[in-house]
């Protein structure tokens, strides 16, 4: 990826679900630029379009109209396969529902993205272990998700995302299913990835407490960007539109 271009750039992006009278316009023309190394929180009420926005940014979903440039490269016209390859090499995800493979050990879950990158077994194993260690779950490497608590599962998911060392980490309500103490641990892990590794982070949340960890807060309302302000991380300043 070249440095001339912003890392992520949306131009007039719309997303419409359904057709005709039943059509629902989730995004109604969004312009957004995110530079490498930023930590952006996307806020908004449920149904505001914030998750749709993140899914499009993460190449999990396609815009109905408009342009999306990833590292200066137009993404909206790419095939499924090409978008899968982008995700494989540049993007990482942490979901609200964890989305770990059932009956699969923590270690193997973390190894998964490396497997698809075609890394040799020993290297895969070593990187996955390092990531699990970083989230403090190395002793649990053999445990399947159903043997782990919610917080532990989400930490495995964070380890999975960071093992592949992506350019951008997308987190969709990463603490939505967790209690406040565990939420702090998880948000701390994500914040550290941004601060210490310089990983670009885009996090969707409806909790201002979580958004406060970000350096920039974008608020979505009714399919449009309502506000876009910088934020002193961990400050008490809460700029919600």
């Amino acid at each position: 990826m070249t440095h001339r271009h912003p890392l992520l750039e949306l131009r007039g992006v719309t997303k419409t679900y359904g057709t005709g009278g039943a059509a629902f316009r989730a995004l109604r023309g969004v312009d957004l630029t995110i530079e490498s190394g930023e930590f952006v929180a996307i806020m908004g009420a449920s149904g505001s379009g914030k998750s749709t926005l993140m899914n499009i940014l993460g190449c999990l979903d396609r815009p109905t109209d408009g342009q999306y440039l990833l590292g200066g490269r137009a993404v909206e016209g790419l095939s499924k396969e090409e978008r899968a390859l982008l995700r494989r090499h540049f993007l990482g995800f942490v979901f609200q529902g964890f989305n770990l493979l059932a009956r699969t050990s923590a270690l193997e879950n973390v190894e998964l993205p490396l497997l698809y990158r075609g890394l040799p077994r020993s290297e895969r194993r070593a990187k996955a272990r390092r990531a699990l260690d970083a989230v403090g779950l190395l002793p649990w490497e053999k445990h399947a998700p159903n043997e782990l608590s919610g917080g532990q599962q989400q930490r495995v998911a964070v380890a999975r995302a960071m093992a592949a060392d992506p350019q951008v980490l997308f987190a969709d309500e990463p603490t939505g299913n967790l209690d406040s103490k565990v939420s702090q641990e998880v948000i701390q892990l994500i914040t550290d990835l941004n601060r210490e590794k310089g990983m670009t982070v885009v996090m969707v949340t409806h909790e201002s407490e979580m958004a406060a960890h970000a350096r920039r807060i974008v608020t979505v309302h009714d399919g449009l960007i309502a506000s876009d302000v910088s934020n002193a991380p961990r400050g008490r300043n809460e700029e919600v539109a």
């Binding site: 899914n55 999990l60 494989r88 979901f95 193997e108």
Partner: protein, 403 residues
Amino acid sequence: MLWNALDIALREIRRNLLRGFLTVLGVVIGVAAVVTMVTLGRGATESVTSQVESLGSNLVLAVPGLGLGPGGSSAPGFQMSDVTSIAEGVAGVRAAAPVRNLGVKAVYLQEDLSTQAVGTTPEYFSVAGWTLAEGRSFTAAEYLGARPVCVLGATLVDELFGPQDPVGARVRLKGLSCEVVGTLEGKGQGAMGQDQDSVVVLPLTTLQRRLAGRLGSNDVDRIMISAGDGTSADRVVGEVTQILRDRRGIRDGEDDDFSVLDTKQIADALGSTTRILTLLLGAVAAISLLVGGIGIMNIMLVSVTERTREIGIRMSIGALPREVLLQFLVEALVLSLVGGLVGLLLALGGSYALAQAMGIPFAVDPGINLLAFLFSAAVGVIFGFTPARRAAQLDPIDALRFE
């Protein structure tokens, strides 16, 4: 990429052993049922055919009434003179022998056994393909003189005499004391499952005059005709039919009241019964195959939700749709092939044991084996693969949200 897919697929099978086991079970049951049934059915058919053929080549059989089945014998029996006419009047006939059956109880000292007495002429032994184990058959003079002499089948020898030598001893048949002049080599089970060796052979004259009592008459139940080598069985059948029609006074245009069959026709008549049985068994087995298939389908459909999410997770992480499809295809193939092989081995082992126990040949039909195997494998692959194909076409976010 193929290696990777195999790796992932095998891990996924290991993680879901129960699901894999149930899938395999469906295939195993289907394949095992079909292959066992068909193998046993074929064995039974072959056994019937080979036993009929063991009656001797170029054997022609004349029976009163139509066909071999029961209920056709209201027609009058044959006479000894019919036998003589056939032996002398049909070119190419090596020998012809009458057969008159009578159920009797054979007694020797304290031992007794209910058995079949066969009244016939000395030609019978060669025509019916018997070999003498000991002693001799009865002579033409003994036949003409209606002498009380008999030849014992292997079962009678075993049951009545055990290890003793029966030749020269006397057995009682319905109060008639008969001298045993010879014994027969065993033939084993007959085409209809009866014991062919539970038999005592004696002159027809003796049976008619001294055993049958009031049932007397000079009737003969059937005529066995041995056509010489190189003689057309069809021609013999035709000429025998003509002679019997003339002698029984059947006018032109009237139907026969007897049947003349050659070995092939007898084999066909008996074989058709077992073939129907094979078909029936095959149909039952086909239903198990179908049920097995439905079982596989169920398991696959039940796991669609979970597997769709799995596909969503894999794709969100960067798996290509075709990598996911390959993984699922390999999974389905491995499970189906394992199931098919296990089913095949079980069926072959099981039907071998059953064939041994039932005393029928172990007749494997490779075509049916292949067909059952392919069908089950196809069911496994189609139902394992179709949900995956649908899921891989979704955008990853839709696959993740799938409920």
